[in-house]
Symmetry: C2
Subunit: 181 residues, 2 copies
Amino acid sequence: MNFCPNCGAKVNYQIPEGDDRPRHVCPACGEIHYQNPKLVVGVIPEWQGRILLCRRAIAPREGLWTLPAGYLENGETAADGARRETWEEARARVDDLVPYALFDLTFVNQLYLIFRGTMLSEDCRPGDESLAVGFFTEAEIPWEAIAFKVIEETLRRYFRDTSGPGFSFQTGRIHPPVRKE
Amino acid sequence: MNFCPNCGAKVNYQIPEGDDRPRHVCPACGEIHYQNPKLVVGVIPEWQGRILLCRRAIAPREGLWTLPAGYLENGETAADGARRETWEEARARVDDLVPYALFDLTFVNQLYLIFRGTMLSEDCRPGDESLAVGFFTEAEIPWEAIAFKVIEETLRRYFRDTSGPGFSFQTGRIHPPVRKE
């Protein structure tokens, strides 16, 4: 942030009085501009023993597979956001959403909240941001072509729970990917 | 938002190409400025059959009681943020945080994520934003003087669970308070 969104003056980056960390502060109108993590909401869409994945049509990780997920928008509940993303990316309808996993990704100031959800029918087709959509059992998952570490971790835990004593709410922290030389 | 935080030009409020809702868009540098809900993280601090509450020293709801809670900051995990708020508001240390409840407050573009946590000792004292701190059983809770509906709902469910079959992850939606005439 360079300029005050409120009045247009050039902002300073300084620790406000009574605070303990630097913020963007406007010397003209006095506004303190806080910046906070964003919530990504997603779904594991379940259909008759399989789950739905989407193959990404856009950067980053174009061509790789992921769960329907995206930023929660102002004015919508987390579950509504997750349903919206499932429609946008896979043209699929899910219901009975149950929170399943919460992951911290502090290196990108994001949290992922993933629900389990039941598809209302097998209807689905790629949305604008997807190249393909498809149903997978654990054995069929393209593990080497999953777009994001947080999605792989979600799926690993999900399939561990499906073959175990049942689902319990999962939490964890995802660290930045190590870049291969 | 009136001015572009990036380049300082006056922004337009319009639906970007390929989008479905209006955003603040800069006609000069092209930046789209998304605005997303914020996550409030908090703790139910447990100590020997009681929980810790704080009496607010600041607006809104000065003088009323609440759980330690506040906005998650960039760069911290949800649990770290909840621990920090507990220290700032009650000078208490909590550990073994377990996610307990997630509430949507779409009318203020917030989500509340409340953990259960065990106090490491009974040490506590009011932080800068608190007038008092204290320990309460269910019968001792000042139900008529709880600062926020989301906190009251969290506490009601918590005490229902303590006298029932155990804790399960809670979700819900809080609607705006009805103003009394």
